[in-house]
């Protein structure tokens, strides 16, 4: 471990050099001014693989200051391996305070979830984005999709979604569900479950999206209209769960399914670990939970 820590000595605050930060910051300003538009930026090679959050990491590194408090989540959890790894990266290179408490954080970097707690105006949510182009699964060519965005020509997307309805009776897209931002650009919200889509709408927090491999940055300013694409006769519906969290009893959170044995046993628990822990700390108890968190002993 000491060898790893040694390696970071000599790097700039938050790893990136100042010229790179300026380039990213300029892109962020454009992204905020043109909500939902994907700004190309000269994404750098980061000391972690493309596809593992290099876009989010670059955005976070470009905005982070010494007084920020950083939270990093992956799949809603602070303790997933990649979240731990990215949090350690910023602890080492920026020395900023980190937290698992959503309310305490000023910058939250996330992969695949929006925290359950309502975000506030002083907070920035940074998404890691694998494929920033919402039209990519319809049209692989950048030259084509760029033109479609320029013309606001989103008929293709509607046709595709309507084909789902014709075939299945509903839209068969459960995550990375496309949204229309500020009445203009169709945007990929990154692979968050569509359960989280409504949280983007009129959020008090600034939302920044970084796609490192695809070299795009985009943004949703606070209090911006974000509408999940739908049809009058088939309105958007967020996923609902049929049971509460087994640990904290929450009925309004996104749940992970956990297989408990090889005989079909399964349970559902909050994917947002901080949400679950704070509910249990407040005394909420689910079917399989105990009042005090965290639990230290496994049962038979």
């Amino acid at each position: 471990m000491s060898r790893t820590a040694e390696n970071y000595r000599g790097y700039n605050f938050a790893y990136l050099d100042e010229q790179t930060k300026r380039m990213i910051r300029r892109a962020i300003l454009k992204a905020i001014a043109i909500p939902g538009y994907q700004v190309p930026f000269a994404s750098r090679e980061m000391p972690m693989p493309y596809g593992w959050g290099t876009g989010g990491v670059q955005v976070t590194a470009a905005i982070l200051g010494p007084s920020d408090v950083l939270k990093v989540i992956d799949q809603g959890a602070d303790d997933t391996t990649n979240a731990v790894s990215i949090r350690q990266f910023f602890e080492k290179t920026a020395g900023v305070e980190t937290t698992t408490e959503t309310e305490k954080a000023t910058v939250i970097q996330t992969r695949h979830r929006i925290p359950e707690a309502k975000l506030q105006g002083h907070q920035v949510l940074v998404y890691q984005v694998p494929i920033p182009e919402p039209l990519r699964f319809l049209e692989p060519r950048e030259t084509e999709t760029r033109t479609l965005h320029a013309l606001a020509e989103y008929g293709l997307m509607h046709v595709r979604l309507y084909e789902d309805i014709a075939q299945h009776g509903h839209i068969a897209k459960t995550y990375d569900y496309p949204v229309l931002v500020a009445h203009r650009y169709v945007m990929a919200p990154s692979p968050i479950p569509k359960f989280d889509n409504p949280k983007m709408h009129e959020s008090a927090a600034l939302q920044l999206f970084g796609a490192g491999r695809e070299k795009r940055i985009y943004a949703i300013p606070p209090h911006t209209k974000v509408v999940s694409l739908d049809f009058e006769d088939h309105p958007f519906e967020a996923t609902k769960f049929e049971q509460p969290c087994a640990l904290c009893g929450a009925t309004d959170s996104y749940l992970d399914e956990v297989i408990t044995d090889d005989k079909g046993g399964r349970m559902f628990v909050c994917s947002d670990t901080h949400h679950c822990e704070s509910r249990r700390a407040e005394g909420h108890v689910g079917r399989l939970g105990t009042p005090a968190a965290p639990v230290t002993e496994a049962a038979e």
């Binding site: 700039n12 605050f13 100042e18 010229q19 930060k21 300026r22 380039m23 910051r25 300029r26 892109a27 962020i28 300003l29 454009k30 992204a31 905020i32 001014a33 043109i34 909500p35 538009y37 700004v39 190309p40 470009a62 905005i63 982070l64 200051g65 010494p66 105006g121 760029r146 033109t147 320029a150 013309l151 500020a182 203009r184 650009y185 009129e202 008090a204 600034l206 943004a219 949703i220 300013p221 606070p222 209090h223 911006t224 209209k225």
Partner: protein, 194 residues
């Protein structure tokens, strides 16, 4: 005359950027500038801090006539080059009281790349106390009042034209010697000052 750069470039640039970022994210809100540097510059300490934080050899800037003297200072500290053409500049600097404001003359971006537009930094005496306008748009919960004194009489018309070019258009950063206020192209003036 040579002016000093930031005491702590890394942190001062970050603070300057964060204030500008927040200003564009919350249009019309008056926010304290992140850092100030070089009171004696014709740019004033806040616009100069923005120049030193966001410009480098990869971008070009334009100076309105009243600020022409700032060229050497900006080039020296940032490596950015001045251009005579407003529609070639990523950043432009203007003094509201002394220069004509013509938003259409700057780079507006293209339909494919609306981001290839100019960000105009406008030096003003004050951000409050002028005739009130009501603005609306992304970054604003409901509506907000904008009271910048000394805007040209045709400002609302120019801004409506800018909005008419959306998603193309310019973004404005108003600065005093202490504060910043952002007006991105996405903001609409819904009630003009009388």
């Amino acid at each position: 005359m040579s002016l000093a750069g930031f005491d702590n470039p890394v942190l001062d640039q970050q603070a300057t950027f964060r204030a500008v970022m927040q200003a564009l994210a919350e249009p019309g809100r008056i926010l304290p500038a992140g850092a100030r540097v070089g009171d004696a510059s014709p740019l004033g300490p806040v616009a100069r801090a923005i120049a030193l934080s966001l410009l480098d050899f990869e971008v070009q800037f334009h100076l309105a006539p009243s600020l022409a003297e700032a060229e050497g200072d900006i080039t020296f500290h940032t490596g950015s080059r001045r251009t005579d053409r407003r529609d070639d500049a990523e950043f432009a600097f203007v003094t509201l009281a002394r220069d004509a404001l013509d938003l259409a003359a700057y780079a507006q971006g293209t339909p494919d790349y609306p981001d290839r537009s100019t960000t105009v930094i406008i030096k003003v005496e004050s951000l409050a106390g002028g005739p009130a306008m009501t603005i609306r748009g992304p970054g604003i919960a409901g509506t907000r009042r904008l009271e910048i004194p000394g805007l040209p009489a045709d400002f609302a018309a120019q801004w409506a034209a800018n909005a008419g070019r959306a998603p193309l258009g310019v973004d404005l950063i108003f600065v005093t010697n202490e504060a910043v206020l952002g007006l991105p192209r996405s903001t609409r003036i819904i009630e003009e000052a009388r």
